[in-house]
């Protein structure tokens, strides 16, 4: 069975990934979707995503990011986790198949770096996502 794609929904009802995608130029948004579709059709450990899908390391270990360059060399990042388990585990989470959970996205100017605080916010959202069963997702 193929993988699905879900967007994390926060306690206040916001869907950070969707808000981010809505704020992206149409071409950048389209590229994010093309990568997500490629990865869902051939999920890790297979190679997929055309090199735009990369595993993160260190404190961001467990996350995958889609790294795109947009107009003006701006750097767009979409942060995802793989939500997979045995069939009982998936059922408890509300799923009938594994999911690519899209947590949030961020953008920065070329040459700038995201701060530790930026990354901490991403991790905090993922903690909100993963502690809920069933998961809190946009529907």
């Amino acid at each position: 069975m193929g993988w699905g794609i879900v967007y994390f929904k926060a306690k206040d009802g916001d869907v950070p990934a969707e808000d981010f995608l809505d704020s992206c130029p149409a071409k950048v948004e389209a590229r994010f979707y093309a990568v997500l579709e490629a990865v869902r059709n051939a999920p890790p450990p297979r190679f997929s995503g055309g090199g735009y899908w990369e595993a993160m390391h260190g404190e961001m270990g467990g996350f995958y990011e889609i790294r795109l360059t947009g107009p003006g060399r701006r750097q767009y990042r979409l942060f995802c986790v793989l939500d997979n388990a045995d069939s009982d585990g998936l059922r408890r989470r509300g799923f009938d198949r594994p999911q690519i959970a899209v947590i949030t996205g961020m953008v920065k100017d070329s040459g700038k770096k995201f701060s530790d605080r930026d990354y901490a916010k991403v991790r905090a959202l993922e903690v909100q996502y993963s502690k809920r069963a069933p998961r809190s997702i946009a529907s």
């Binding site: 969707e18 093309a34 890790p44 450990p45 190679f47 090199g51 990369e54 069933p134 997702i137």
Partner: protein, 131 residues
């Protein structure tokens, strides 16, 4: 009894964007083609490696790279460098070739190819498997 969530939000959103925005649709289709080519090349190289009975560590040694870098190369943990693609292909007795997607564009007046036609004949990357 656990609830099964509605996980169709992404599919509905994508379908709507494809229907409503021609610029989005054109870029999505273009990127899908590009990604499919890159993914196909790396996967074909991995298949050739398996057919050759070569471990990732052996392949890494053969091209002078760390085993971890080749493991990452085959699992999309990093953006594959063209240089590495070519080196891996060479060790596996293959090569990466460029082929035209369609017939070559006709030359315009003065022997120059019109820009639009040249763009239509954009090349694609393929992996040769004639080991």
């Amino acid at each position: 009894m656990p609830t099964t969530l509605d996980t169709t939000h992404h599919d509905r959103r994508l379908a709507r964007r494809l229907k409503d925005d021609p610029e989005f649709r054109a870029e999505f289709e273009r990127q899908r083609r590009e990604i499919a080519q890159i993914d196909s090349i790396v996967r074909q190289l991995d298949e050739l490696r398996e057919q050759a009975g070569m471990s990732k560590a052996e392949l890494a040694r053969a091209i002078g790279k760390a085993p971890s870098s080749i493991r990452r190369f085959f699992t999309a943990d990093v953006n594959p460098e063209l240089k590495t693609v070519a080196a891996v292909a060479d060790v596996l007795g293959a090569e990466v070739a460029i082929v035209s997607r369609g017939a070559a564009p006709a030359k315009g007046a003065g022997g120059k190819r019109p820009r639009r036609e040249a763009a239509a004949a954009k090349a694609i990357l393929v992996s040769r498997v004639d080991v």
